[in-house]
């Protein structure tokens, strides 16, 4: 039995490592704000949200699979929360009753396993009930398969069969083993045998049929003997204890998988509810294949900004279809960084199957999203600032490949403009020739203008606007050629005057 709610035909791997650039993404895109809105203080939900958001899916098909399920979740939030509570109950009961397999000896393993199995059977019955009552309200392929599986596998006959094993495994009368002679005439291949009558008197029945039987009763004080006999019994029930123990673990991991996979959707429900409270719109994005160049959106806003400000954020609309390079220039505090962040965030959200903060959004998948942002001076004093920027770029170069997306925010400006522009030019040119998609926010006129002069078909130039009259900015970006000043002057005035 598999949950398969995150992927069409495989389980989620909770140990899947985050991409090496995860920390940079979290820092540069302010992802912690998003995680908090999804988690509402629950560490487990936060981890699940983080894992999902930073582990992009590879194909539009996988994304659409999750989008369908997420739509079901947004329609039936209470049923989803009810299912999610089952694994939590399992954890709670294990804690309260000290359940678990703590022994290394088969008899200990077996008794621990039996206790857990009895508890799980109870929860599985509840799950079956939910499937019977609410399954019909779900339309996604993922949930339909999930409920059908529960109904098919966990029918009444199955619960009866399990019950009988749980009774027999208590071995009230004793155990029957078969054995052969192994190396050095030592007993080997101990196999636990099924006795014909589970309840009573099976020993008498066997003995009445056999010719020679040799019996031995341990003397009262033979503690070594008692231990040795116990070990032998353990050897006999070793496999069945293992089977029971592993079955308990398997069911445990089934519930753990259920928790893990639903945690992502629960986070999404939480976020959707929060954004709705703020009056923000959400949309299910249209993903395109990685080798296409699609990027167009209307009303794209920075969800993290909106969550932080607790109010609606300004949206942007851009059509960058067919573009490999987007260079964003213009006024300070003109919304350049916000736009760049919202682009990175929406890309990650789309790629994990979430809705995006926009009225409409479509983009090609990117094989890896990378951020290269200007940073504070390196605290460790091991390298100069420019050196530090280059070493971060070098780390990205190790990971980036065709159809990746790299977001630069005022990169390579920690040296004079000529050198910085030249190095940035070389880097961006190399990235473009390797089919990497690049968004670059920069003040460096020489860099921006250099690319503008080339008249490239696949480049788009956006400029942060400011209202000409009183210097107030609109925080909206429009297409426009780079200008030689970044309007720092009026910011300076605003601060000093």
């Amino acid at each position: 039995m598999n949950v398969y709610l995150l992927f069409p035909s495989r389980n989620a791997d909770p140990k899947q490592p985050l991409p090496p650039n995860a920390d940079a993404l979290i820092q540069d895109l302010e992802l912690d704000t998003l995680f908090e809105a999804m988690a509402r203080g629950d560490e487990y939900l936060r981890t699940a949200a983080k894992q999902a958001l930073l582990s992009s899916l590879d194909s539009p098909a996988e994304i659409l699979y999750r989008q369908e399920i997420l739509r079901d979740c947004l329609k039936n939030p209470e049923v989803v929360r009810q299912i999610y509570s089952l694994p939590l109950q399992a954890i709670d009961r294990k804690h309260r009753h000290w359940m678990g397999i703590f022994s290394h000896y088969p008899s200990g393993v077996l008794s621990g396993a039996l206790q857990m199995l009895e508890m799980f059977v109870d929860l599985l019955k509840t799950l079956k009930q939910i499937a019977d009552e609410h399954g019909a309200a779900f339309e996604s392929r993922g949930f339909r398969r999930f409920f059908a599986m529960i109904q098919q596998e966990l029918d009444d006959a199955y619960f009866v069969e399990v019950q009988e094993h749980l009774e027999r495994l208590k071995f009230r009368e004793g155990v029957l083993l078969s054995a052969e002679l192994g190396m050095g005439n030592q007993g080997a291949n101990y196999v636990l045998r099924k006795t014909a009558h589970p309840a009573r008197n099976w020993i008498q029945r066997i003995l009445s049929r056999k010719a020679s039987v040799y019996s031995y009763t341990l003397p009262m004080r033979d503690e070594h003997g008692a231990r040795a006999l116990g070990e032998l019994r353990d050897q006999g029930i070793n496999l069945v204890a293992n089977a029971a123990g592993q079955s308990a673990d398997h069911i445990d991991s089934f519930f753990a998988a259920l928790r893990l996979e639903l945690a992502f959707y629960l986070g999404c429900i939480n976020l959707a509810e929060r954004l709705a409270e703020l009056g923000e719109l959400i949309a299910f994005p249209a993903p395109a294949a990685a080798d296409e160049r699609v990027h167009s959106f209307t009303g794209l806003y920075d969800a993290c900004l909106s969550l932080t400000m607790k109010q609606k954020a300004v949206g942007n609309s851009v059509n960058a279809n067919g573009k490999d390079l987007v260079i964003i220039t213009g006024a300070n505090q003109g919304g350049k960084s916000t736009l760049l962040r919202s682009i990175g965030l929406a890309q990650l959200m789309m790629q994990c199957g979430m809705f995006v903060p926009a009225e409409a959004f479509s983009a090609n998948l990117c094989r890896g999203v990378f951020t290269h942002y200007k940073r504070e001076e390196d605290a460790s004093m091991t390298s100069g600032k420019f050196d530090e920027e280059l070493s971060r770029m070098s780390a990205i170069a190790d990971l980036v490949r065709a159809d990746s997306l790299v977001l630069f925010n005022e990169s390579f400006a920690a040296t004079n403009e000529r050198e910085g522009s030249e190095i940035a030019r070389q880097i961006v040119t190399a990235l473009l020739e390797r089919r990497v998609k690049v968004y670059f926010v920069t003040h460096q006129y020489e860099l921006a203008n250099g690319f503008h002069q080339r008249g490239m078909e696949n480049a788009l130039f956006l400029r942060a606007q400011r209202q000409q009259v009183d210097g107030r900015r609109t925080f909206q970006l429009q297409e426009g050629a780079p200008l030689p000043t970044s309007f720092g002057e009026d910011l300076y005035r605003k601060v000093f005057e």
């Binding site: 054995a179 052969e180 190396m183 040799y214 019996s215 003997g225 353990d234 089977a243 089934f254 190399a430």
Partner: protein, 508 residues
């Protein structure tokens, strides 16, 4: 049947030495031997590695065996044999140690079975293989006669028959609290399988294995002994046959084959080490070993260093040298950390390994069969020894020159580092004069340039640098006068982020 040794072509030579030669730690030969013998401790192979040969003929004898062993199927057969002989030894050890009669008898039988199997398949397999070495041909001859001998034949036949009888024994145990019953087994179904089947649908990938490691390899407590006793009552004939077998075959392992089993490991241990390094692209060759002092190697390397780099990405740097008459001493100079000491060690290692009759690191080599390798490497000051460092240097050098002959080899590394340059130059020249008088081949690593151009018998070698990037070490030692250059790298180049570098790096 004639006695033979796979390591020596005649009986007159000293076979084993208990202590390592003096040059061992300077040349890192101790590390090499430790690494090579690490997985074969029980064979005590080090004494073989401590015993260099003086006869070119014995070296040829070993080369022959080694070349045969490079045939992988032969090697596999011998390794299988060796593994089985280890098992035989372990089982016989149990027979000595154990307590219960039927238990001891059981292990004795199993030891004999493994032995017969080991010998039988080795003989059979060697017959299929094309052998050329005198050593292995003699082994095959010996084995052929041994396996057809009546003693071995009856050992095999009887062991198999007794085992067959015991393998047919099946019994059941009913375990209740404080008592048990033993009886013959009737076909009750396997219950564990049924339980597994019921819960199979929940399988979620790998889970913990709860099976206890209960099957002790060699133990038997009195309860198990009691059960076994009951089983002998259920099946008396099988156990009577076992007792008769033990009485009839007390000492079954052949002495000559036991010796072979140990000695052949000398080759196998070294071959194992070679195989690992060959996977890394390194090459070994069979050197020409003799009295000529016109030694050379192509693509030689420091074996100890190569072993430590085995699991690292770093490449092992290979170097060449060649002395043509009248050249005798290579003087190595150049920047620190440039591979000079490694080069000197390699020179010594090559000669020592060659004197063991083993292949040496390199593509091709001619090496000098010396009577002794004298080394003098800089050592940490020893507080227990009251001499100054300079005095210590001189005492040690004096000792070397009082024992060295024209057939010796000398390797000096940074001597006189603790005195003034003027003194060092003077003493170095004195020592060099003595060395050249003896006409012995050698390597001298030094910071004193004057030695490099001492005369027609010295050769100047330099650790090379990349002209464009002197900070980078090539670890190449080349034949030329010393030089040195320094250029700074641009920051972007350092991070490999120029247009050309970056484009090269990005994966498609």
């Amino acid at each position: 049947m004639t006695f033979f040794s796979i390591l020596f072509d005649n009986d007159d030579l000293p076979k084993e030495t208990e202590a390592a030669p003096a040059c061992f730690s300077d040349l890192n030969l101790d590390q090499i031997v430790k690494a090579v013998t690490a997985r074969k401790k029980d064979y005590r192979l080090a004494p073989f590695f401590y015993t260099p040969l003086r006869s070119a003929e014995t070296i040829r004898y070993r080369h022959e065996v080694m070349r045969d062993l490079e045939n992988e199927s032969l090697l596999a057969h011998i390794e299988t044999f060796a593994e089985k002989m280890v098992i035989v030894g372990r089982y016989l050890g149990l027979v000595e140690k154990l307590e219960f009669h039927h238990h001891k008898q059981g292990w004795f039988l199993d030891a004999a079975l493994v032995y017969c199997e080991a010998i039988g398949s080795l003989a059979e397999n060697l017959a299929q293989i094309n052998l050329t070495s005198r050593g292995l041909l003699a082994l095959r001859e010996y084995l052929t006669q041994y396996v057809t001998s009546p003693a071995f034949q009856s050992l095999t036949a009887e062991a198999c028959k007794v085992k067959e009888g015991l393998a047919g024994v099946r019994y059941s145990i009913i375990i209740e609290s404080g008592k048990f019953k033993v009886l013959k087994y009737e076909d009750e179904p396997d219950y564990s399988v049924e339980v597994e089947k019921t819960f199979a649908k929940f399988q979620q990938g790998a889970v913990k294995d709860y099976r206890s490691e209960l099957g002790k390899a060699s133990g038997m407590n009195h309860i198990e002994a009691k059960i076994l006793e009951f089983v002998t009552l259920l099946y008396p004939e099988a156990f009577a046959a076992l007792d008769r077998f033990r009485a009839g075959h007390t000492q079954f392992v052949d002495e000559a084959l036991r010796t072979f089993d140990r000695e052949i490991q000398f080759y196998i241990a070294y071959l194992d080490g070679m195989r690992d390094l060959r996977h890394k692209g390194l090459i070994f060759c069979y050197p020409e070993v003799g009295a000529s002092k016109e030694v050379f190697v192509r693509d030689g390397f420091d074996l100890a260093l190569a072993q430590t780099l085995l699991f690292s990405e770093k490449p092992v740097i290979c170097n060449d040298f060649a002395l043509t008459n009248p050249e005798r001493v290579m003087v190595v100079t150049g920047p620190n950390q440039g591979g000079k000491t490694t080069f000197a060690r390699m020179f010594g290692q090559l000669h020592y390994l060659a004197s063991l009759g083993l292949p040496v690191p390199g593509r091709a080599a001619r090496l000098f069969l010396c009577d002794n390798i004298f080394t003098h490497f800089e050592r940490a000051e020893d507080i227990r020894n009251l001499r100054s460092k300079l005095q210590d240097d001189l005492v040690r050098l004096h000792e070397i020159f009082s024992r060295a002959t024209p057939d010796s080899l000398i390797i000096l590394n940074e001597v006189f580092a603790s005195t003034s340059l003027k003194d060092a130059v003077f003493m170095s020249k004195e020592i060099m004069r003595r060395a050249l008088e003896l006409d012995l081949p050698g390597v001298w690593v030094t910071f004193i340039d004057e030695l490099a151009s001492f005369g027609e018998k010295t050769v100047s070698m330099v650790s090379a640098i990349v002209p464009e990037d002197p900070a980078r070490r090539t670890f190449k030692i080349v034949r030329r006068p010393a030089d040195g250059l320094a250029y700074a790298l641009s920051l972007a180049e350092k991070h490999r982020l120029t247009y050309a570098q970056l484009k090269e790096r990005i994966r498609l």
